[in-house]
Structures are given as structure tokens and as C-alpha cells.
């Protein structure tokens, strides 16, 4: 990347912005200093924002979504179309909402209640001087005298009851025996005709709602148009608001940013084609934004960096290392040909369906392949040592040779960690020179080698004079203390802890293999028990192995990820890079 500074007269601002946008390569750095003021948006910006707001409203009313290529159209023409659509959509929406909120159903219900309570006319409900009315469903039959009731006097029956206003006792009984409902007392004529009117009103509302819905659906037909206008407007607003990121004086403006070095000459040519009064300068840079550039196989493994933190521009991209080690760890943990095949099948099936987690699925496919390879090494197929009648001879027997597995894990861990130290060495040399790199990173490798030599010597695998590793080790510790201060000394035991941490590879493998065995042992005796037994046996096999596979996938993934993030990245990775977003890039 190169850092470029472009300065030009203000009159050419529009052209420069257009050029930068179509080049789609300059990551603009927002101007934040105080000497100059920032630019203001072009004059159309406000109008375009309003139009975009209208489009959002239309989209949400009609349920349009997706994206489209931009259309070429004048702003006023677009504005005309957008306004018309917005007005149509809004009025339809408002009417629909109003109709939906009308309480026609409630009205229908209370009219039906009055009918069932034996009321024939609205006039029976009001106009009394000395009577009070209580309406509702009867909780328990009314007994007191002096109650006028039009309907049956039994539990749950709808009732409208009257009594004398000054007869407090009867009134209180009525109140306690009837669960009150609010009923409309206003109205004219017979209840039956009111019910008829409501019915026809309801039918009218339903018909109108259907009309509105089909009108909204019709609006949806202009989806392509709306989306293409939206694409055009989004581009326009991005261009119009670009000056907010520039430094502007009375007659000129300055824009700064990063651009891939191979594009510098192209940009220079384009800018000088606009005006000879423009000035451009490109310099090498360290604090540039980061864009990961990996071959296609490794691309999906960038997922782990996206999740964690992008490397800084001047840092090594560890994606390829993750590509090598992640599937190995994953396969080592699950290590079963059958399980690997199931995971592979699942991943291949879901690959085209779940595009949003494509990277994760691609990682799973590679990991599943590695699982099958390790399954072959461990001679396991769904926990058995048989594959379609052939006996599998394990190269390593996982459950019996636990110590061997732990040693193998530790060796994998040492390789992994040293890869981290080597990357750290390269990073450190790049930033602070070879001396610091040797002191801070090589020292750990030396210390490690000394530790291993001493261990092997003690265990009797090799015979060496132990003074050499001891002296070298002390020197290495001194170097660490010099490079990292007293904190480095406290970090020393973490070396051992990290190596031991890798024994989770063996431990999870052991758990997975044992669980598979247990499932098989549980199912085996059932197969002797006729058809019913066989059915149960198959069920146990399917359920048991499914659970084990699900746990295996999750555990292997998380643990492998953790080994990378904690044990590996701790050795060299700083992260906190900012992503490269060129001006003109589509979302």
C-alpha cells in the first residue's frame, strides 16, 4: 500500500470524486486535524437522503428486498418516481391500518351478545328513570325478586338484567352474580337489523382490505425499478458526502488515503487528466489498512481472523498456518472415519444452502477430510475396527496407548508453538530489528530446546552432558528477562502450561472414542433379540452416534480454535488492523 495525498482546486472536486469512486481502490482517511475545515456535502445530498428514506418506507410497506444494479436516470426523474411510489404506498398503508384497527369485530360480538340475551330492540336498553341495568354472563343463577331478565337464568348464559335503582340489596346481588361486560346501549331500531348492517359493513371492509393488499402486491412489481434507483442513490449519496472526509480551504481541497501500490500510476494518470493544477504525492506507509490476500483454499480460513481481529498492515497474515494446523487438530480429536464421512456429507449438503456461513462450512469440509485420514490411522469406523467386513488395523490404538497420544499431542503442540515463535521472530525483526527478535523470540525456542534435551536426558532416551542445556537455558532466561522485563520471568511457566494444554487433543479424542465404544457395547446385545431388539439396537446406534458426532463437532471446533487463539496467537499476534475499504466498494 502507498499513502497518497491529492490536492486540487475546488472546482474539480466533483470530477476527482467520480474518478476515485470508479477506480474503487483508494481507502480514504477521514480528515481529523484542525488546521483546515472539512468539506460540506454537495447540494443534492439532502434531497437524496430524503429520497432514500422514502425508498426505505416503500420497501418496508411492500416487503421488497434484495439488491439490483444501478440505473442511469436524472435525479429529478428519479425523485418523481420515488415520490409517486411513496405516496401510493403510504396512502394504501394508512388505509389498511385504519381498516385493521376498526373495532367492527368487537361491535359484532356485543350485538350477538345482546341478541343472545334476548334483547330485540335498542330502545329496551335505555330511557329508564328508575331502573339500572347490569349486562354480562351469569356466574350463578339470580334468586332475588324484583329482577327483570330477558334470557335464561342459568350459569354462563348471556344476560341483561334490570332492577330498581334504590333497591341496593338486589343490585348488589346482581353485581355479584353477573360477570359484567361492556355493551353498547346506543343505537336505533332492532338488534337484528343492526347485526345485518354490521355484517355487510364487515364484508365491505374485508373486500377493501383484499383490494389494498392486491394494490400493494402490484407495487411490488416495480421492485426492480425501486432497487435500481436505490443503488443509484446510494452511490450518489456516497459521492456527495465524500467532501466530509476531505480537508477544504477556500479554493482547494486535499484528500488523503491508502491505495495498493500497483494502482498509484493509474490514479496519477487519471488525476492529471482532470486538471493540470492537481497535485499528488505517494509515500510508503506502515499504518495502512489491511486486506488479506490468500489463495482460494485458504480464503475460508480468514474467517478465524475476521472473528478475532485483522492483522496489522505490517504484520504477517497467519491464515496459511491456520489452514495447515486447524484441520489437523480437528481430525486428531475426532479421528473416526465414519464420523468424518458424516461431517463431510453434512457440510457438502449444507454448502449451497447456507451461504452466510460458507467459510465455516468450507473449514468443516477440510477438517472432515482430515478426520477421515486420522480415522484411518487410528483404525476407527463408528468406534469399531471394521469397515464393511474388512478389519482395520490401527497404526495407533487411541484408547490403549493413552500416553503415546499425550506425547503425540505435546509434539504437535511444540511444532505449533514454535511456528508461532518463528512468525513472532519475523514480525519482531521487521519492527525492531534482528537483535530484539533474537532476545524476545529466539530465546524461547532455545529455552524450549534445552528443556526437551534435559527431559530426554533424565528419562534416559539420550545421554548428554547436562551442563550445556542448563547454561544455555539460563542464558535464554536472561535474554527473555532483558527483552520483556520482569513480566517475562513470570511468563516462563506458561511454556510448560501451553505444551500441556495441547494434551486436550488426546483427551478429547479419548473421550470421543470411548463414547463411541460405549454406544456400540450398549447396542450389541440387543441385536440378538429378534426384530424388536434389532430396531432398538439400531435406534441406540443412531441416537448415540449422533450425539457423539454433535458433541465432537462442537468440541473439536472450539478446542482447536482455542489452541490457535490462546496458545498460538499469544506467541506473535498483535492484531487490531483496520479493514481496507476502498471508496466506491459496493456493500
Amino acid at each position: 500500500m502507498s499513502k497518497v495525498t491529492i490536492a486540487a482546486p475546488k472546482v474539480h472536486m466533483r470530477q476527482v470524486i467520480d474518478t476515485l469512486y470508479s477506480l474503487n481502490a483508494l481507502h480514504i482517511q477521514d480528515y481529523k486535524e484542525k488546521e483546515l475545515s472539512i468539506g460540506s456535502p454537495m447540494q443534492d445530498a439532502e434531497k437524496i437522503s430524503e429520497m432514500l428514506l422514502d425508498i426505505t418506507a416503500v420497501k418496508s410497506i411492500t416487503g421488497i428486498n434484495g439488491s439490483s444494479k444501478k440505473i442511469k436516470m436524472s435525479l429529478s426523474q428519479a425523485s418523481h418516481i420515488v415520490k409517486e411510489l411513496r405516496e401510493k404506498a403510504s396512502s394504501l398503508y394508512n388505509e389498511k391500518k385504519k381498516l385493521q384497527e376498526s373495532d367492527i369485530e368487537k361491535k359484532e360480538k356485543s350485538l350477538a351478545f345482546l341478541r343472545d340475551a334476548g334483547i330485540k330492540n335498542f330502545s329496551s336498553l335505555s330511557g329508564y328513570k328508575s331502573l339500572v341495568m347490569v349486562a354480562g354472563y351469569i356466574k350463578k343463577p339470580l334468586k332475588a325478586e324484583g329482577i327483570i331478565l330477558f334470557s335464561r337464568n342459568e350459569e354462563k348464559a348471556p344476560a341483561v338484567a334490570f332492577c330498581r335503582k334504590n333497591d341496593a340489596k338486589v343490585l348488589s346481588e346482581m353485581r355479584s352474580c353477573i360477570a359484567e361486560e361492556a355493551v353498547p346501549v346506543e343505537g336505533r331500531g332492532s338488534i337484528a337489523s343492526a347485526i345485518e348492517t354490521t355484517k355487510s359493513e364487515k364484508a365491505k371492509i374485508a373486500a377493501r382490505l383484499a383490494e389494498i393488499n392486491s394494490a400493494i402486491a402490484e407495487l411490488k412489481e416495480s421492485q426492480e425499478k425501486i432497487l435500481s434507483i436505490e443503488a443509484m442513490l446510494v452511490e450518489a449519496i456516497e459521492k456527495d458526502e465524500a467532501p466530509l472526509r476531505f480537508a477544504v480551504s477556500r479554493n482547494a481541497f486535499v484528500v488523503q488515503g491508502w491505495i495498493p501500490s500497483k494502482n498509484v500510476t493509474k490514479l496519477e494518470e487519471k488525476i492529471s487528466a482532470i486538471t493540470r493544477e492537481a497535485f499528488m504525492k505517494a509515500t510508503a506507509t506502515e499504518d495502512a489498512p489491511t486486506k488479506l490476500d490468500n489463495p482460494k483454499v485458504a480464503k475460508s480460513f480468514e474467517f478465524f481472523l475476521d472473528l478475532y481481529s485483522l492483522p496489522r498492515y505490517d504484520e504477517l497474515d497467519p491464515t496459511w498456518l491456520i489452514l495447515l494446523s486447524f484441520p489437523v487438530f480437528y481430525g486428531f480429536m475426532i479421528g473416526d472415519m465414519g464420523y468424518g464421512a458424516v461431517i463431510l456429507a453434512l457440510a457438502v449438503l449444507l454448502r449451497n444452502k447456507m451461504r452466510n456461513i460458507r467459510a465455516l462450512i468450507d473449514v468443516s469440509i477440510l477438517s472432515a477430510l482430515s478426520t477421515i485420514v486420522f480415522g484411518f490411522i487410528f483404525g476407527e469406523f463408528f468406534g469399531t475396527e471394521e469397515l464393511f467386513g474388512y478389519h482395520l488395523t490401527p497404526f495407533v490404538h487411541r484408547i490403549e496407548d493413552v500416553n503415546g497420544m499425550i506425547v503425540a499431542s505435546a509434539v504437535l503442540g511444540l511444532i505449533h508453538m514454535n511456528a508461532g515463535f518463528i512468525l513472532g521472530f519475523i514480525n519482531e525483526r521487521r519492527h525492531h530489528g534482528i537483535a530484539k527478535a533474537v532476545m524476545a523470540k529466539l530465546s524461547w525456542i532455545i529455552l524450549e530446546a534445552c528443556g526437551i534435551a534435559l527431559l530426554l536426558n533424565t528419562l534416559g532416551y539420550i545421554t548428554i552432558n547436562s551442563t550445556v542445556p542448563v547454561v544455555l537455558g539460563v542464558v535464554a532466561i536472561g535474554m527473555i528477562a532483558k527483552a520483556e522485563g520482569i513480566g517475562g520471568i513470570f511468563e516462563l511457566p506458561s511454556l510448560l502450561a501451553n505444551v500441556l494444554s495441547y494434551s486436550r487433543l488426546a483427551a478429547i479424542g479419548l473421550a470421543s472414542a470411548s463414547l463411541a465404544l460405549v454406544v456400540n457395547h450398549m447396542a450389541a446385545p440387543l441385536f440378538a433379540g429378534g426384530i424388536v431388539g434389532t430396531i432398538f439396537g439400531v435406534m441406540i446406534l443412531i441416537i448415540g452416534h449422533s450425539i457423539n458426532i454433535a458433541m465432537g463437532i462442537m468440541d473439536a471446533f472450539l478446542q482447536s480454535m482455542r489452541l490457535h487463539y490462546v496458545e498460538l496467537f499469544g506467541k506473535f499476534y498483535k492484531g487490531a488492523g483496520k479493514p481496507y475499504k476502498p471508496f466506491g466498494q459496493k456493500e
Binding site: L307, Y308, V402, N403, I406, A497, L500, S501, S503, R504, A507, L558, Q559, M561, R562, Y565, V566
Partner: protein, 69 residues
């Protein structure tokens, strides 16, 4: 006698370390979820911090296997 004591020791090694790891993860996990509720990008950091105490059980397992071997 020695064998049975060794078996108990191995059990304790796993059990106690698992309890310890669980206790530690409980505290970290709760805090991590709280932080995530505020800022979703903290998921990875939270995850990493949450699984750090798992190493305790692994140590316990290694010790147990060594006792039984």
C-alpha cells in the same frame, strides 16, 4: 490398597479440577455474556477468556492418567 487409593486419587484429580474449572468458567462466562450484550463484537474475546480455565481439567486428566499408568 495402594491400587484403590490410586484410583481415588485419580478421581479426585479429575473431579476437583473440573469443579475448579467450572467455577472459574461460571464467573468468566457470566461476565463475558454481559459484555457481549453491550457489544456483540466481543464474542470471540469472551469465548477465548471463557475457555481458558479448561486447561485446569486437562492438567487434572494428565495427572490422573499418570497415577493410573
Amino acid at each position: 490398597m495402594v491400587e484403590s487409593m490410586a484410583a481415588i486419587g485419580a478421581g479426585l484429580a479429575i473431579g476437583l479440577t473440573a469443579l475448579a474449572a467450572g467455577y472459574a468458567e461460571k464467573e468468566i462466562g457470566a461476565a463475558a455474556v454481559g459484555a457481549m450484550a453491550e457489544k456483540e463484537e466481543l464474542f470471540t474475546k469472551g469465548l477465548i477468556l471463557t475457555v481458558i480455565p479448561e486447561t485446569l481439567v486437562i492438567f487434572g486428566l494428565v495427572v490422573a492418567l499418570q497415577i493410573l499408568a
